[in-house]
């Protein structure tokens, strides 16, 4: 599914931080994990992850280091910092609030739909 640009930008921070909270990781593996967790519902353009990681690094939420992977190539690993964990907790609270609100709204909307459906049914 294509997620809108703004929503993508907003959600990428908690998603990446949450994946890194599971353990240190690198770009490709993070993308695989996003695909897996979302059940394929979220597809990021691969390259776009890297500017996001660099932004998180600049903000001090993650720390990067170069290591030689078992493939023999140099690979850049990212680790979440304490500030990152605090940020993740904060983002989590905010997203839960948004999520709860949206659930409430969806619920109300579907009730309205049901009532309308009944009204239409009675009218006929």
């Amino acid at each position: 599914m294509e997620i809108g640009k703004d929503l993508m930008a907003a959600s990428s921070t908690p998603i990446v931080l949450a994946i890194l909270a599971e353990g240190d990781s690198y770009g490709y593996a993070i993308l695989q994990r996003v695909r897996q967790v979302s059940g394929g519902r979220i597809e990021w353009t691969d390259g776009m992850l890297y500017p996001v990681l660099h932004r998180l690094e600049r903000l001090g939420f993650v720390k990067a280091r170069w290591e030689v992977a078992d493939t023999g190539r140099r690979r850049k690993y990212y680790r979440i910092t304490t500030t990152g964990r605090t940020q993740l907790a904060e983002e989590r609270r905010q997203w839960q609030a948004v999520d709860a609100t949206l659930r409430g709204v969806w619920h109300a909307l579907s009730r309205v739909a049901v009532v309308r459906g009944c009204a239409v049914g009675l009218g006929a």
Partner: protein
């Protein structure tokens, strides 16, 4: 089989890397990170049974469009588009080391040029009192150091280096050999023409001794234009600095004007030339495109002004008043028009379709030629009345040289626009013409004083 796969993948990744490297917002360290991603993606896809080429194509596609990616990187790393003055942070260590050495050499040579300006003081010659001496020798203070910088940078061979040294010695000889009693305009002429003649020597050093190579000469022309821009910028900065200095010291009752005249201005002017040369070399990519941008801006404006001038002249029937030194003004005008043409051409992609700007440039050159021919006619008509002073002959010679160059350029440019000739012909014409300027300037310095002494 696996071996050839690996080789073809390496080749493709290499090509991709070179392609991405052109984006300034994406630095080598990011490319390494993206490359690791690319290779892992390819490996995964190949495990699923794809051929190496297919896997590579899909992996690159999944990275997203390079434009979008480059934009995202630029947004995150806005600082990268503002290149660091001296050394970009992420440059490999050995590159950084050579940059530092180069900066050290350049500043040492700049200091040398500044000291050279004050060297005659040891022999009792002072800038304020001996303006004639300093005028004649102005070129000899800074240009040897600029030449030295390029000789060092290009690793010039001993023979060429010796020849260049001899050229400077000959220049020093002719700048000072003629008796001062022969008149002041000789001094002015030498002061104006020696730098032009010696600029060719700088060019030979710049080209690393391969002066016959047309491409190197064209680079030297580009370098000269950029150097001019840098020099003007440095001069502006220097002006601001000295203005503050004067203001602050005046506030505590000290007048810095004598210090400024005797030290800051002359030494700074000489040193700035070396520093500007180094900056143009070291920072080629920063304002690389400044000269073409400026020409793009001013070509229409100059064309309008010149057309208006010609129109007004024809409409009102006014002749050109040659009495004052208008000729020098027209020489400079031709130089500017030539510069506008040259820097526009040097940045023009020869394969791009002809556009309105090409027509505009031709209009500019043609009106400049017409205006100059009118000026020349006015002079020719009244040459007996004024007499042939060395100043006038020199300016006249330059005018003819520039006129021939610009005329040739106009013909070749028209032939390019009409599709009869390649743009390279015009570049060859320009690069082949360079020694003519230096030759004439040398002639003025060497032959004019004795020649007009006996007229």
């Amino acid at each position: 089989m696996a071996g050839t796969d690996a080789m073809s993948l390496d080749a493709q990744v290499g090509a991709w890397r070179n392609y991405v490297r052109r984006r300034r917002a994406i630095e080598p360290v990011d490319i390494a990170e993206l490359e690791d991603h690319l290779r892992e993606q390819v490996a995964t896809l190949m495990d699923r049974g794809l051929a190496v080429d297919e896997a590579f194509l899909i992996a690159v596609k999944r990275l997203g469009s390079l434009d979008a990616l480059s934009r995202e990187f630029a947004r995150e790393h806005a600082d990268r588009l503002w290149k660091q003055l001296v050394v970009a942070r992420s440059e490999p260590a050995e590159v950084a080391a050579t940059s530092h050495t180069e900066a050290a050499v350049a500043f040492a040579l700049a200091a040398g040029a500044a000291l050279a300006v004050k060297l005659p003081a040891l022999f009792g010659l002072h800038i304020v009192g001996d303006a004639g001496f300093y005028g004649r020798n102005a070129a000899l203070f800074a240009l040897p150091f600029v030449t030295g910088y390029f000789a060092w940078k290009r690793g010039l061979d001993l023979l060429t280096t010796r020849r260049l040294i001899v050229a400077f010695m000959i220049a020093a000889l002719f700048a000072n050999v003629y008796p001062a009693a022969w008149g002041r305009h000789d001094e002015v002429l030498t002061a104006l023409h020696l730098p032009i003649a010696l600029w060719l020597v700088v060019g030979i050093a710049y080209a690393g001794g391969r002066w016959s190579d047309g491409a190197r000469r064209m680079d030297f022309i580009r370098f000269s234009g950029e150097l001019f821009i840098y020099y003007v910028l440095i001069a502006l900065g220097g002006g601001v600095l000295t203005a503050f200095m004067a203001m602050m010291f005046r506030a505590i009752g000290i007048d810095v004007a004598p210090l400024f005249q005797a030290w800051l201005l002359p030494c700074g002017a000489a040193a700035a030339l070396v520093v500007a040369s180094w900056l143009v070399e070291a920072k080629q990519s920063v304002i690389e495109n400044m000269a073409p941008v400026l020409t793009g801006l001013f070509t229409p404006l100059f064309a309008i002004v010149l057309t208006a001038f010609l129109g007004t002249m024809l409409w009102t029937g006014r002749g050109i008043d040659i009495a004052r030194d208008v000729l020098i003004g027209f020489d400079l005008l031709l130089v500017v028009v030539l510069g506008l043409l040259l820097y526009a051409v040097s940045a023009r992609d020869p394969r791009a379709p002809r556009n309105g700007f090409d027509i505009l440039r031709i209009v500019l050159v043609v009106v400049a030629l017409l205006a100059d021919v009118l000026a020349l006619c006015a002079i020719a008509a009244r040459i007996n009345e004024f007499g042939l002073t060395p100043n006038r002959v020199a300016a006249l010679g330059e005018n003819v040289i520039l006129l021939v160059n610009l005329g040739g350029s106009a013909v070749l440019y028209v032939r390019f626009v009409t599709g009869h000739d390649a743009l390279a012909r015009l570049e060859r014409w320009q690069t082949a013409y360079l020694p003519v300027y230096a030759g004439w300037a040398a002639l003025v310095v060497i032959v004019f004083p004795p020649l007009f002494r006996y007229v």
